[in-house]
């Protein structure tokens, strides 16, 4: 199947290459500033960590206008190790894809290339990552080659309040549903076994909302739900080249939570029988990260919640049952410092919105966007609860929240039809 995804030129190039052991894919779009460094670091990592392996670096470009493909073509991959060890040169393939919106298509193409080359392991690296080190290749590929894992999810140390949507909703919900404690972080890269990459490239779900809106979420959830062996790798601090276009919170929430809810429908048979969670193996050293203080306007978050309570109540009434609403309404009268949205109530809200999404009680995009003030309320409460503590305190609160999600799962199951 998957060869159909590739152009004739690419297929010809793959025939020349024949088979390979490792594929590192770099989906790119207007990454002229960073692509060279990323490719050189990947090349160095491959030569250092897998000197005996036949490796392929594939750049999948989505129609860049800043000369990214030209740079990718001419990057001199003359790494010192290649000079020292008689390795075959790392062949490169440039397969075009259309724009940043088609990231899924780029990744699918890379997986198809992996399938065609019959690789043991694939790693996909963001073309705009600034903090990549050669060691990433080892962390993302070795668990697949040596330990037979099928998906290596990235893990990174971040500011204690970064990723609050992941901490407050995506990670605990995914953990409660599928029973695996694997975090979802935009980590700069991930690893996939060759067999899993081939299976995924042959799937028909790449055009579904879940894959289009949250590719990372889709892959991790698919791996967990399909019983793949999943592990995580600490990649250290992960920083990306800043982009001019920044998605607002509401849009981010709609995409990410929409992907999780859509996958709940797809995998309902798999998650409905899960009652507890187990940790997944973690590779790599735990990096302690120096974090600079960030400005968090809790008052604005509380204000956003209160405005939602005032203006969006008719919409919330459709999604939330009376018991949930009756607990929410008194929060509108609290001052910022005393504002708290209890974990149990937040979990109930998330489950109620998941049910409303499933039952199509409202237009789905409207429903997800209407959740934004509630999320702001929870984030404000989370920040106020942990403002005096460090990373450990945040972890403790997230762990307690995860336990609440797991203990409240019967509430979801009873109402899910």
């Amino acid at each position: 199947m998957t060869l159909d995804l590739l152009s004739r030129d690419v297929q010809g190039r793959l025939s020349e290459i024949g088979a390979a052991d490792i594929l590192v894919g770099v989906p790119s779009y207007d990454n002229a500033k960073t692509i060279e460094r990323v490719m050189l670091t990947v090349d160095q990592g491959l030569v250092e960590c897998f000197p005996d392996a036949r490796c392929v670096i594939a750049v999948c470009d989505g129609g860049s206008q800043d000369g990214t493909p030209a740079i990718a073509e001419r990057v001199g991959l003359k790494t010192p190790l290649r000079l020292l060890v008689p390795l075959p040169p790392s062949p490169r393939t440039v397969a075009p894809y259309q724009g940043a919106a088609s990231m899924g298509e780029a990744v699918r193409t890379l997986f198809a290339i992996g399938a065609a080359l019959q690789v043991q392991a694939c790693a996909v690296i963001d073309a705009d990552v600034l903090t990549i080190t050669p060691g990433w290749m080892d962390l993302l590929i070795r668990p697949i080659r040596d330990e037979r894992f099928e998906y290596v999810a990235p893990l990174s140390r971040r500011h204690k309040y970064d990723g609050s949507l992941s901490n407050g909703l995506i990670y605990p919900l995914t953990r409660a549903l599928y029973g695996k404690r694997a975090r979802q972080a935009p980590g700069g890269g991930y690893g996939v076994s060759g067999a899993r990459a081939a299976a995924w490239s042959a799937k028909n779900e790449w055009e579904d909302a879940a894959a289009r809106q949250g590719l990372d979420i889709w892959m991790l959830t698919s791996a967990l739900a399909e019983g793949a062996r999943v592990c995580q790798a600490y990649l250290g601090p992960v920083l990306h080249e800043p982009r001019d276009i920044k998605m607002d919170l509401s849009a981010q929430l709609t995409r990410a939570v929409g992907a999780v809810f859509a996958l709940m429908e797809h995998y309902q048979a798999e998650w409905s029988s899960v009652t507890s969670s187990v940790p997944v193996p973690v590779f790599g050293p735990l990096f302690e990260m120096e974090t600079s203080p960030v400005a968090i306007n809790v008052a604005r978050m509380v204000k956003g919640f209160k405005q939602g309570l005032r203006d969006l109540l008719p919409i919330w009434e459709v999604a939330l049952p009376y018991e949930t609403l009756s607990e929410l309404l008194p929060l509108g009268g609290l001052e910022t410092e005393e504002f708290r949205l209890p974990a149990r109530l937040w979990v109930q809200i998330v489950y109620d919105f998941a049910l409303a999404y499933h039952d199509r009680l409202l237009h789905r995009e409207h429903l997800l966007k209407a959740m934004t003030p509630l999320y702001l309320g929870w984030t404000a409460s989370f920040v106020l609860d942990t403002k005096d503590g460090g990373q450990e305190e945040v972890e403790r609160v997230v762990e307690a929240l995860c336990a609440t999600y797991e203990s409240a799962k019967p509430y979801l199951l009873e109402r899910w039809r």
């Binding site: 919170l249 509401s250 960030v294 405005q307 969006l312 934004t372």
Partner: protein, 233 residues
């Protein structure tokens, strides 16, 4: 004399009986059509209700905001029941008009022509109204959520302006479709719409410069604040 009187009486009686004999089948046809209409309308209503329940029409209407709009308009029945009743009356009236036509009275024939001539426009107008209502609800809800998420305090005002703007536009289109005071409706709509835009422009230009400036400054300040925020994903 008595012979003439008897002949006139018999002639009148015969004529009346002949008229009655000619009219009776028409009357029976009308009664039959009305009765058949009642049965057909009732059957259609029951069937339609079952289909609408099977496709969860009420939930769909709730999702589209139609149920809430009907509720606000004082309609307490569920949308599925409403559609069922509408179907019942449309089919019954159709049969009733056919019955009237079967009487073959000059007045009823011309009435039938008028009604059947008007029916396509009426149906088109009904669809326009329904579509407009759905569109108004959808965009008002989208605007309300977007404005609340942007923390614009006048969110409900913006949503209501959008809702009523679309509803006024729809009403104008429906009246034009029905051919009711076509020219007046178009002129009134153009004058009202143009007037509102002009009034807003003048109001903002003369009296609201400071407010507009402050609002823009506030928006820019908000953007700067947002840039300092944490990454949520």
């Amino acid at each position: 004399m008595s012979e003439l009187w008897r002949e006139a009486m018999v002639e009148a009686f015969r004529d009346t009986m002949k008229r009655i004999a000619l009219f009776l089948p028409n009357l029976l046809a009308m009664i039959s059509l009305v009765a058949a209409g009642l049965v057909a309308a009732w059957l259609a209503k029951v069937l339609l209700l079952r289909i609408l329940r099977a496709v969860r029409f009420d939930s769909l209407c709730q999702r589209w905001g139609l149920a809430a709009a009907l509720g606000k308009a004082g309609v307490t029945q569920s949308p599925a029941h409403l559609v069922g009743r509408l179907a019942f009356w449309m089919i019954f009236l159709l049969f009733a008009f056919m019955g009237l036509g079967a009487l073959q009275l000059p007045a009823s024939t011309s009435l039938m022509n008028v009604i059947f001539g008007f029916l396509p426009s009426l149906l088109a107008a009904l669809f326009l109204l329904l579509f407009g209502l759905l569109l108004a609800n959808f965009f008002a809800e989208a605007a309300l959520i977007a404005a609340v998420n942007a923390q614009i305090q006048e969110a409900r005002l913006i949503a209501n302006l959008i809702r009523w703007g679309i509803m006024i536009f729809t009403t104008a289109m429906v009246l034009t479709q029905l051919g009711i005071a076509k020219e007046i409706v178009v002129a009134a709509f153009s004058i009202t719409f143009g007037g509102i835009v002009l009034a807003l422009a003048i109001a903002l230009g003369l009296g609201g410069r400071t407010i507009a400036k402050e609002a823009l400054e506030r928006r820019l300040r908000d953007t700067r604040e947002r840039e300092e925020d944490i990454s949520h994903l």
